[in-house]
């Protein structure tokens, strides 16, 4: 057979070989499907609240109820301090940022199994799905944050908290970091569950456990020095959460060294996740 290249190469020209390269993430193609990412984002948003009585009100109600519950259980009953921040506000902001991260992990952990039907019928860059999930959760976070903002302003006027308004431009960066980390962890789990189904049972339990290992229902300053304190510092989610609370509530322990570690971890887990994901994607349909 002739070994000539096409005379007129289409901009969409593509060569597919049986040799799989780990480094081939085809990010340019993902970019070309950016409209699809936005449509997926819109879909997961629209579908979540169609045919519910309260509709998007759940967006506000959910974190609110959770925070009240935390205030009672961890605040009143267990008596865990909140560094002088009003309890409700502390738990509202902690829950908002943690829920964002946890949702990114949880929803992406089922990417392959939940979309097997779609993946089996048509090709599109599979990474569009996890990315759109993260975007949808970012929007959800922004909506919930607006509610927190109202309460925050009330407390600020009363002088109960002292937010670092000047640092707020950094909040999108925290979202980007936690979104990327959550997606990375999620798609690694998703890639593993195509072969080992029992991992998916562990996911929600694991994420729950991770929450208690992260200063969410307590501030880092409440942990006594020792192995628990060290473990919490090594946990890559700790610094972003503390940093977020420092910006929003004016209270938080931020150690630059561990923040750098957290970013290194994020970048590593995101790239590794995308590599495993694109590698598994190519043949996963033969194994479901």
């Amino acid at each position: 057979m002739n070994e000539y290249p096409p005379t007129i190469k289409s901009p969409y020209y593509k060569r597919i070989s049986s040799e799989r390269r780990w480094t081939d993430l085809r990010l340019r193609e993902v970019w070309r499907y950016r409209d699809l990412i936005l449509l997926f984002t819109k879909r997961s948003f629209v579908l979540a609240y169609k045919q519910t009585i309260l509709g998007p009100i759940w967006l506000f109600l959910n974190p609110f109820l959770t925070s009240i519950m935390y205030s009672i259980v961890f605040g009143r009953i267990a008596g865990i301090g909140t560094d002088g921040v009003p309890r409700l506000l502390f738990y509202l902001s902690s829950t908002a940022i943690w829920t964002f991260f946890a949702s990114c992990v949880n929803s992406n952990a089922y990417t392959f199994t939940a979309n097997a039907g779609l993946f089996g019928k048509v090709y599109f860059p599979r990474l569009t799905i996890p990315i759109s999930q993260v975007l949808a959760f970012m929007i959800r976070f922004a909506i919930q944050a607006s509610m927190v903002l109202v309460i925050l302003l009330c407390y600020t006027v009363k002088g109960a908290v002292h937010p670092r308004f000047g640092l707020w431009i950094g909040i999108p960066l925290i979202l980007l970091q936690l979104g990327a980390m959550g997606m990375g962890v999620g798609i690694i789990i998703s890639s593993m569950t195509t072969k080992y189904r029992d991992l998916s049972i562990l996911v929600s339990f694991g994420v729950q456990l991770w929450m208690y290992g992260t200063p969410v229902v307590y501030p880092l300053s409440q942990l006594p020095a020792g192995w628990m304190h060290t473990a919490a510092l090594v946990n890559p989610v700790t610094m972003p959460v503390e940093l977020f609370r420092y910006m929003v509530l004016g209270q938080g322990t931020v150690l630059p060294g561990y923040l750098v570690w957290s970013w290194i971890f994020t970048i590593a887990v995101t790239i590794l996740g995308m590599m495993i994901f694109t590698y598994v994607e190519k043949t996963f349909l033969d194994t479901v």
Binding site: P6, T7, S10, S18, R20, K282
Partner: protein
Amino acid sequence: MEEHRINSNEMDFAVRIRGLKKKYRLGQIGGATLQEELKSWWARVRGREDPNTKIGEQRRLVGETFMALNGVDLEVRQGEALGIIGKNGAGKSTLLKILSQITAPTEGELEINGRVASMLEVGTGFHGKMTGRENVYLNGAILGMTRAEIDRKMQDIIDFSEVGDFIDTPVKRYSSGMFVKLAFSVAAHLDSEIMIMDEVLAVGDVDFQKKCLNKMREAASVNGRTVLYVSHNMNTIRRLCDRCIVLDAGRIIFDGNVDQAVAIYMGMKDKLSTDYTFTEASRPYGRFSRLLSMEALKALEVDEPIYPEGGTIPIRIRCTAAQSLQKVRFRMELWYQDGTKVGSMLSDAIERMEPGEHTVLMRMKLHGLTAGQYSADLVSYTADENGVEEILDGVYPGLIFNVRQRSDGDHHVEWSHQYWGHIRLTDMDITLEDAARA
């Protein structure tokens, strides 16, 4: 210089495949639990027998593979409409899946020069709760269109689909016909240079099917798209394609002229048996009293069960009566090869059958049955004076046979099962009146 450019453009390929192989592992694959895998690994480490090996399973079967594609080379030029035909399991679907990038090849490589729109199933990603319009956007984007492109084509898509004002209604309220029409319209309006289709044309009503077929032909001949089309319907292949390949056991055994390809495909159908022994597997649908148990069937007087139109099939059935039976009848329920039921043949009653083994001779008259492959389910039953039927036994299928077109060219065109049905009713009398008067 200008001429040279045009020339080379014509020769440009849309798809080029070299040494393509796809291997599947047979039997249970994937979906293992981590525990099982760890146990197997631990057993191997200790040199013991793998606890997950099924009892009685032969070792060599473990890891046995199946080559769905076994070395395919193919080059499709731009603007060609290529038909792909072959028996079930020949590798057609696997080839399309690799071309559509749903799965990766095991060996070899392919080059695709352009955007690929694969329509292995229309309506992929459609969601019932979303409106027709929302679904068009999502489905179009899944198939690779940008939002701007869909905006531009929205009106054409709505017009083609005939859904009209329902476009802003959630698709779960659509009739199945409307759903499919809308889904096809999105796919048909893609700008992709290469279109891959797997019998999606069998959608909607007859008028819509014709519309789809014309749209596809237009895509190839007028707009210069490349069309790869898989079908079992030879009529469609003939109408749509200008080149055809025949796949068999994962290889291309013919590449070229459509009529020749169809002839080769028709000639390689499985040789059918004339001898049937009925086991439990022949009775998948139920428990019958088995008062008259049918054990075997043989088609007599032929080597292969192929009969001319209007012919007769003599068969002998061996059966055992468990008790004395009155008025035993047999019924053949006929199916056409595409899974549509054709009709049934009844037999006269056998007044009395004593307990013990019997052989029954029957002659099936094929009057009106047109050329094609049929399978016949065989049922034995009795009926009491109130007309209540008691089924004694039923085997599925009892017999598979082919009817071939009479060589005397009796009805001049190939019978179109899809549109005309499977039975040719009695011919009409016809006279040209003005000629008779003259």
